[in-house]
């Protein structure tokens, strides 16, 4: 069931259920854009099967940070990355690291739903084919499975050949999640996945994200603190320091949102709340 009630009890119980086992670890990760650092010396631990929320004011490098975790930063012009991102103890920013494989293992969901201008079916089958699923039956089975998983199957099963762009915003975003899931990733990076959607579609997507917890490691960037509080097990707060983003505090969502000792964190949480 997707539409569950997300109350604080569920949130607290989740915090405990999570088995803190490191999957991704950044070490002194710094990204400079045209020689100017966007964020500096980030040391963040991301645990397997948990939802980690990255929060903070706009422009402090949260999205750039996310892009470093699947090396999408390679595509940004004028951008330089230093430091390490250890994914299962291997530094993915090493030259030899297989980027194709990395990006299959680390899926990404963008702020604006961005299905390809192809049919719904082709949006899912084409990346699968790219990653070596040549058998059409196998691919279609995966397609059905992931569409069911994101709760889209009943809505689109009769019009799989329709253009993906004809779907509503929320449906498009769930299609994008399905597209990422089809590649059987271990990690999902989400860059404000609900903020471009209307509240109802947004809450559907949010529900879907909580469902994915446990099976996938999720890193979600969000401006919506209430949402972060509802769904996250762990949280990290980015803040400006000398015009560059830095990591102010990380910990369980409970620590960050309710009992932080850090001045900045408390001010930010309260300021936004009030």
């Amino acid at each position: 069931m997707i539409e569950k009630d997300f109350n604080t009890q569920a949130f607290e119980s989740r915090s405990q259920c999570c088995d803190p086992q490191t999957q991704i670890e950044t070490r002194d990760l710094t990204l400079s854009y045209k020689g100017k650092p966007a964020f500096k010396n980030i040391n963040l631990t991301i645990n397997r099967g948990c939802i980690t929320a990255v929060v903070g004011p706009s422009g402090c490098g949260k999205t750039s940070f996310l892009n470093c975790l699947n090396r999408l930063s390679d595509l940004m012009p004028h951008c330089e990355v230093s430091g390490e991102v250890l994914f299962d103890s291997k530094n993915i920013h090493e030259k030899k690291y297989d980027v194709g494989l990395l990006r299959r293992r680390v899926g990404m969901i963008f702020q604006k739903p961005n299905p390809f201008p192809l049919s719904i079916k082709k949006n899912l089958l084409f990346p699968l084919k790219e990653h070596g699923v040549r058998d059409p039956k196998e691919a279609e089975a995966i397609m059905e499975q992931v569409l069911m998983h994101v709760g889209l199957w009943n809505e689109v099963k009769d019009r799989l050949d329709a253009a993906a762009l004809s779907l509503s915003g929320g449906q498009q975003q769930r299609l994008c999640i399905a597209r990422a899931l089809a590649l059987k990733p271990e990690v999902l990076l989400m860059d404000e996945p609900c903020s471009a959607l209307d509240p109802i579609s947004g809450s559907k997507v949010e529900g879907l994200i909580t469902q994915l917890q446990g099976a996938y490691t999720i890193v979600i960037v969000t401006h919506n603190l209430a949402q972060a509080k509802r769904i996250a097990n762990f949280a990290a707060l980015f803040w400006f320091q000398e015009e560059a983003g830095v990591l102010v505090e990380q910990g369980t969502a409970l620590q960050i949102f309710d009992s932080s000792k850090n001045e900045i964190t408390r001010a930010y949480i309260q300021g936004v709340r009030g």
Partner: protein, 292 residues
């Protein structure tokens, strides 16, 4: 166990092949300019070696058969035609663009733009032909022989007008709307807004347009060849016939041999140098515009 076979090594190989193919396309297209310059220079060298550069300015005249290669009449011819046509076309083109943006109702502006594009689509040989059969006889009635610098300037001006008009049009549409709103809020008149706000804001675009049309004017061959009379003599009035560098090449290339042929390539090199310096100037203007 992952469901997906990761054949990423083969993926990278196909990507590498693609990159190599594209790179070679890029190298080939990038090399063309160098090939052109190289061949022009290579063909120009023989005459430069035997006669030297200075004789292109000091020889008694252009008598290639007796090894005299004074290019100055043609240089002046090209320069006069270029300056005259740019002076004529620039205001016409810029005012046309102003008309489309600040005077005409949208429909009229659209039609006028289409008109200008139509103008730009007509090939130079057709303009030259029209000039020869319509314009030249008209000028002949005023001051014979009719084929003249004036005819060249008029035809060239018509031909380069679309270039300046379309670039000016594009740079006027890039003038931020808040400037115009600001000017309107201050109660500035239309002419004051255009002079004081629009032109300064669109300055670099307008300059680029002028440079582009200058390049066009200096390089144009057919039209000017057909209406200028092609007599090798520095013109002393608008009504005298004259010959440009480009026309000289087009007229004599077919039968030129040895040093004569080589001398024509020298004028080709001169044209290229001119164009390259225009590109450099345009580059400087546009890079300044970025940092302003």
């Amino acid at each position: 166990m992952p469901l997906l076979k990761t054949n990423s090594s083969s993926l990278w190989q196909s990507d590498k092949l693609l990159a190599v193919t594209l790179k070679s396309c890029g190298v080939a297209t990038g090399l063309i300019v160098f090939l052109i310059i190289g061949f022009l220079i290579a063909e120009a060298i023989p005459v430069l070696k035997t006669t030297g550069i200075s004789r292109f300015f000091t020889d008694p005249g252009w008598y290639p058969s007796s090894n005299q290669f004074n290019l100055t009449p043609m240089l002046w011819g090209s320069l006069y035609a270029m300056v005259g046509s740019v002076l004529l076309a620039t205001p016409l083109g810029i005012f046309s663009a102003v008309f489309c943006h600040y005077y005409a109702p949208p429909l009229v502006a659209k039609i006028y733009r289409m008109f200008i594009q139509l103008l730009s689509g007509i090939p130079s040989v057709v303009y030259g032909f029209w000039g020869l059969v319509v314009l030249v006889p008209k000028i002949n009635e005023i001051a014979p022989p009719g084929t003249s610098l004036l005819a060249g300037i008029l035809i060239l001006a018509i031909m380069i007008l679309p270039t300046i008009m379309l670039t000016a049009d594009a740079s006027l549409s890039n003038v931020p709307a808040q400037y115009l709103r600001g000017a309107a809020a201050l109660g500035l008149s239309r002419s004051a807004t255009i002079r004081g706000v629009v032109f300064p804001a669109a300055r670099s675009g307008l300059f680029t347009g002028v440079i582009l049309e200058t390049g066009r004017a200096i390089g144009e061959t057919m039209a000017i060849l057909m209406v200028c009379g092609n007599i090798v003599k520095t013109p002393t009035s608008l009504f005298e016939p004259m010959r440009t560098l480009t026309a000289n090449i087009a007229l004599e290339m077919a039968y030129a041999m040895g040093n004569h042929r080589s001398a024509l390539f020298v004028s080709g090199v001169v044209l290229m140098l001119f164009i390259i310096s225009l590109v450099v100037i345009a580059e400087i203007i546009s890079s300044k515009a970025v940092y302003e």
